[in-house]
Amino acid sequence: MILPPAPTSTTPVAVDAHTKILGIETSCDETAAAVVVGGSVVRSSVVSSQVDIHARFGGVVPEIASRAHVDLLTPVIAEALVESGLDGPDLDAVAATYGPGLVGSLLVGVSTAKALALVWDVPFVAVNHLEAHLYAALLEDPSLELPLVVLLVSGGHTMLVAMEHHGRYRLLGSTLDDAAGEAFDKVARYLGLGYPGGPAIDRIAMEGDPDAIAFPRAMQNDGLDFSFSGLKTAVINHVRKHPEASTADVAASFQEAVVDVLVTKARRAARQIGAKGLVLGGGVAANSQLRERFLSACVEDGVHGFLPSRDMCTDNAAMVASAAWYRLGADGPSGLDCGADPNLRLPLLTD
């Protein structure tokens, strides 16, 4: 019988404002380590990005990412510990992302975290990367009250999640095809703007007219799911038909269409569940236009809106350590026989 790779939870461990957790994140192309105290005080957060290594390939290459993680993780952890002013034995737990993500990359972080936990004789906590993104906002603004609606938008995910209690989530909507970040990357590549696509489009869109081209807003008036592959095709078709179109206008109009849909659906979701707060997470949350439109929508609707800092939106280990604090208190440590689960999903409540 093949055992599932899911971590074996034991009994909850008491956590308090002094519980110090080392978090490790290696699910994609960022090698990160952080020390967070009491679930919300970030003592250090070190992120070593591999963007430059992958740029010439136009996307993340899994084998190259794994090789970089194994070289970078030791110095990144050392730096996080030095910056935090804490030594290994002072820590109360070691946490790592065990999915979803690239399996070879995840295994480097999981193996490292388990080995450190073994040496320091402290609990190991396996953290769901998506759950960590949900905690990024709470980490920076502990005054946020549940229930919350989180719009999680990255290169791999586009979803609206209702966070009703800690560790209990309801999926309100998600993309039926491409993730929003994926659409940014693909359109940027088509327009010859390079990789990563998000920041490239964000930059050039500032010089363009967002109303120049009326790209389709798929399913805008319909439910809480998303679809971006039609939009991507529409951009390509438009450029083929109008090769003279200004790239800045195309980028700005494309971005406007994505942001329109994201903001409309996030507002609808918040109204639907009577959320007290609406927060943004994931790499695309660093997009300037999305941030601006999102905040003004929250003000208009009278919802507590929160935008995590750009550093907290992208992959980092502080959010992993923070999520681990809640997990440790609610479910207890994970087993040392934990592996990686590249297709891990959010633990969802079902009706």
């Binding site: 290459v61 084998e63 993680h69 030791t74 480097v108 193996s111 080995a115 320091w120 026989d337």
Partner: protein
């Protein structure tokens, strides 16, 4: 001096503890791709069996390849973390050296052959010398046919070992070539501790961040890239 050895270059994953007195305890498993799942519990088990605290370890040895990329990284990442936390040095030994080591009394030329997948193998040659084996070629990657051609050109008998030799045994079917199967198919953590001990006596060690993996093959994307660039 106590050495913790972690070996995960092939389908097998192993862990051993030893020192001056030889190997005190070891554990090996080869049931599917479960390197990360099995290695950490194995380290704890081996420490308990050897009645050793991890804090008594004075050096961490790892197999740095060549072998399965993901498997290797599980062992190397774990080893680096332990060495970093304990503030002890590390020793890296090649999987091919580990495979050849148990055959040091065979009095023949030895070729260690690791399955590299995609129809290729990693290999190196060794010759018997007083007190052990000496590697006579650099670790290399190629097709089993290329290795067979090299064997054909060599005088005298050769003993092949490793999962690559077992998998492609039919390509090496010659009167002066023998394939050692069974126990000799995977590098062992027991050999790792013994070879690392000899290196440790010479203080031939490195710091955790200086460990380099012996991949012998570039990531596909880089190969495609250099082909496209005509480099």
């Amino acid at each position: 001096m106590l050495i913790l050895g972690l070996e995960s270059a092939t389908a097998q994953v192993g862990c051993a503890i030893g020192g001056h007195e030889g190997v005190l305890a070891s554990s090996h498993s080869s049931r599917g791709k479960r390197h990360a799942e099995n290695l950490t519990p194995a380290i704890r088990f081996v420490c308990e069996q050897a009645r050793v605290e991890l804090s008594d370890i004075s050096c961490v040895a790892v197999d740095h390849g060549p072998g399965l990329f993901t498997g290797l990284r599980v062992g190397v990442a774990s080893g680096k973390a332990i060495a970093q936390a304990l503030r002890v040095p590390m020793i890296a030994v090649s999987s091919l050296d580990l495979l050849a080591f148990p055959l040091r009394f065979a009095n023949r030329r030895v070729a260690a052959v690791v399955d590299a997948r995609r129809g290729e193998v990693f290999w190196a040659f060794y010759r018997p010398v007083p007190g052990g084996l000496q590697r006579t070629s650099e670790p290399t990657v190629g097709s089993p046919e290329e290795l067979a051609a090299e064997l054909l050109a060599l005088p005298g008998e050769t003993l092949l070992c490793g999962d690559g030799a077992v998998r492609y045994a039919d390509r090496f079917d010659r009167p002066d070539v023998e394939v050692a199967g069974g126990d000799q198919a995977h590098p062992s953590a027991r050999s790792l501790v013994q070879l690392a001990h000899a290196k440790a006596l010479r203080e031939d060690w490195v710091r955790p961040h200086e460990i380099e993996l012996l991949y012998l093959r570039k990531p596909d994307a880089e190969i495609n890239w250099s082909t496209r660039e005509g480099a």
